[in-house]
């Protein structure tokens, strides 16, 4: 009886490990395949059975990418975009979160609800007028034109309010006030140091979302010199006779930095994304 039960138990374990292994393989296979194809000539796609080992065209394929798109310029543009957007969103969100968590003022609840409601507006609704505004102010093909829309981040205010009201004690603020600290000084020297972990969480969320966003960047940036990496990569696939080795090389080198950063900080990464959605 007990051996039958043990058998069933170990069968269950085998099934679970098997299922996890299969899903994990499917999850990481495209990363490996990306690398293989980035090192092979385009013709490798026609080989049967399919090529599964790296070849020797790593450099040539990447040179083809460099000839087609301003790869490093685009990567730099994306980097600048993400850093500026993240810093601005952190500043706006923490200030507003501080106000909503620790101050009393008329209309507080209504205004906070209004911020939450703005989350429902889909970005496509404003797409055309935003494009019109950006072109009116001659910001097409500029990073500033892209950024300005990403500065709007209601989720950030929500997260910061939660974090500040849970982790900054009222007594600390009261004490600082009795010492004659101004509100901004309290924010800078008391609130900011306490909420640094929340900055990491929100920063990761905003940075990755900005990095991967496509529709708006694709709409605003038409001049190759202004391309971000997403727009540049998408332009690799717009000719009829696509060089697959080149496309995969571009994708591989653009994805590699993300994979390295993720593997280094995967726990922080995963917990940030979870907190951002579940809170």
């Amino acid at each position: 009886m007990s051996t039958a039960r043990q058998k069933l138990e170990s069968l269950k374990k085998v099934f679970m490990y098997g299922f996890l292994a299969v899903v994990s393989l499917i999850s990481i296979f495209p990363f490996y395949w990306m690398f293989v194809m980035a090192t092979r000539p385009s013709a490798a796609y026609n080989s049967i059975p399919p090529t599964m080992t790296p070849g020797d065209r790593l450099v040539e394929n990447f040179q083809a990418v460099l000839n087609k798109i301003p790869f490093f310029g685009a990567l730099w543009n994306t980097f600048v975009l993400c850093v500026v957007v993240t810093l601005v969103v952190l500043l706006i969100s923490s200030l507003a979160g501080f106000a909503f968590a620790k101050f009393k003022f008329p209309g507080k609840n209504v205004l906070f609800l209004a911020i939450l409601l703005t989350m429902i507006i889909p970005p496509q609704l404003g797409l055309i007028p935003q494009y019109y505004l950006v072109s009116k102010f001659h910001l097409l093909d500029t990073l500033l034109g892209v950024m300005i829309v990403f500065f709007l981040n209601p989720l950030g205010i929500f997260l910061m309010r939660q974090y500040i009201s849970n982790s900054v004690p009222d007594e600390l603020i009261e004490a600082a006030k009795l010492d004659g600290c101004s509100n901004f000084k309290i924010f800078r020297s008391i609130v900011l140091p306490i909420i640094l972990p929340a900055f990491a969480t929100l920063g990761i969320i905003v940075f990755t979302a900005t990095w991967g966003e496509f529709l708006w960047q694709f709409t605003v940036l038409r001049d190759p010199a202004s391309y971000t990496i997403q727009v540049a990569l998408s332009s690799l696939n717009t000719t009829n006779n696509v060089d697959f080795g080149m496309v995969m090389s571009g994708v591989f080198w653009a994805t590699l930095p993300l994979v390295v950063v993720f593997l280094m900080f995967n726990k922080l990464f995963i917990s940030s994304i979870t907190e951002g959605s579940v809170k």
Binding site: K13, M16, F19, L20, S24, I26, S27, P30, F31, W33, M34, M37, Y45, N46, I48, P50, L91, I92, A96, F98, A99, F100, F103, K104, F105, P106, T118, I120, I121, P122, L125, G126, L127, I128, P129, Q130, L133, V149, F151, L152, P154, F187, G212, F214, L215, F218, Q230, L233, S234, N237, V247, M248, A254, L258, V259, F262, L263, I273, T274, V278
Partner: protein, 306 residues
């Protein structure tokens, strides 16, 4: 004297508070509220983006609603939304359930691998899967089909080929994300509940049905809501996957692609704005229905129990 000073302190706090929340509202007014209202206005105008606007009443809406391509895009969006997101719910819960087992080894490694697709950008995913699902008979996807004795599919130009390929890439990128959210939910369920159920003789399926699903419900509702909204906004994957055929073929054209094509390829900003408003309505309707349906999940069981 003392009282007056106190009051002015309160006044100061109010001013600070309004000052601190003002950046959000200023930016919102310029790039959130104004564009939303402008869209609403544009939906009733005829405008090519340059010349004079002309009031046309509801004509933009009738043009869009009578356009078979629009309905095709609605159909495509719903079909790909269902195929791309519904299986995630099931697979995500199973994966989270397994990852939550106490005896499981290499938990963090499995978790990181399953989550990894989420860090790739949608553009990268669409390009990689675009090669995997190329039209060539020798494409890797066709090679796999061949192993099972099936005929090759021209993935980018066939009605179901394109939809299936796009659904698969959506599934691949998001299933790990949903798994992680369910896992967070599972970790909030006390282990003693399962022990008590096991003592009462409940098997693993019963545990899943009477403990896991009901207590996971808020997390399921959350992911269903996100998935619904995200699915209706599908744009990047099909656009990049189809490359320069994206706006000239209709096998995988989504509502947002239809909107984009109207605005930026056909310079018809009025009908594009009308489409945006129809899209907003669809998002509200579908997310309400799906949230309602998923919040009904597991209700019967609980009533039967109590």
């Amino acid at each position: 004297m003392w009282k007056r000073k106190y009051r002015s302190e309160e006044q100061k706090d109010k001013i600070s508070a309004y000052l601190y929340i003002s950046p959000f509202f200023i930016i919102f007014a310029i790039i959130g509220l104004y564009p939303a209202i402008f869209s609403l206005y544009l939906a009733f105008q005829r405008w090519n983006g340059l010349g004079e606007m002309e009031f046309v009443g509801l004509r933009n809406f009738t043009i869009v609603l009578q356009d078979p391509v629009f309905w095709k895009s609605v159909y495509n969006t719903i079909v790909m939304g269902l195929m791309g997101t519904a299986p995630q719910l099931v697979v995500g819960i199973i994966l989270a359930f397994i990852l939550n087992q106490t005896y499981l080894k290499f938990k963090n490694t499995f978790r990181a691998m399953i989550f990894m697709p989420y860090i790739t950008s949608m553009v990268a995913v669409a390009l990689v899967f675009g090669v995997f699902f190329s039209n060539n008979e020798t494409a890797l996807a066709n090679y796999v089909l061949n192993i099972f004795g099936l005929d090759p599919v021209s993935w980018k130009t066939s009605e179901w080929g394109a939809k299936i390929a796009i659904s698969i890439m959506v599934f691949w990128r998001w299933v790990g994300y949903n798994t992680i959210i369910y896992l967070a939910g599972l970790q909030s369920i006390p282990k003693s509940l399962y022990e008590a159920a096991r003592i009462d003789g409940a098997n693993i399926l019963q545990q899943l049905r009477y403990i896991t699903i009901p207590l996971l419900k808020p997390f399921i509702i959350l992911t269903v809501f996100f998935s619904t909204v995200g699915a209706l906004q599908l744009f990047t994957e099909p656009t990049v996957f189809l490359g320069n055929a994206a706006f000239s073929r209709t096998e995988a054209m989504t509502i947002v692609m239809y909107l984009y094509r109207d605005a930026f390829n056909l310079q018809s900003f009025g009908t594009a704005s009308a489409t945006a408003i129809i899209l907003l309505a669809l998002i509200i309707i579908f997310s309400a229905i799906n949230t309602y349906l998923s919040s009904g999940l597991g209700k019967k069981e609980r009533r039967a129990k109590s």
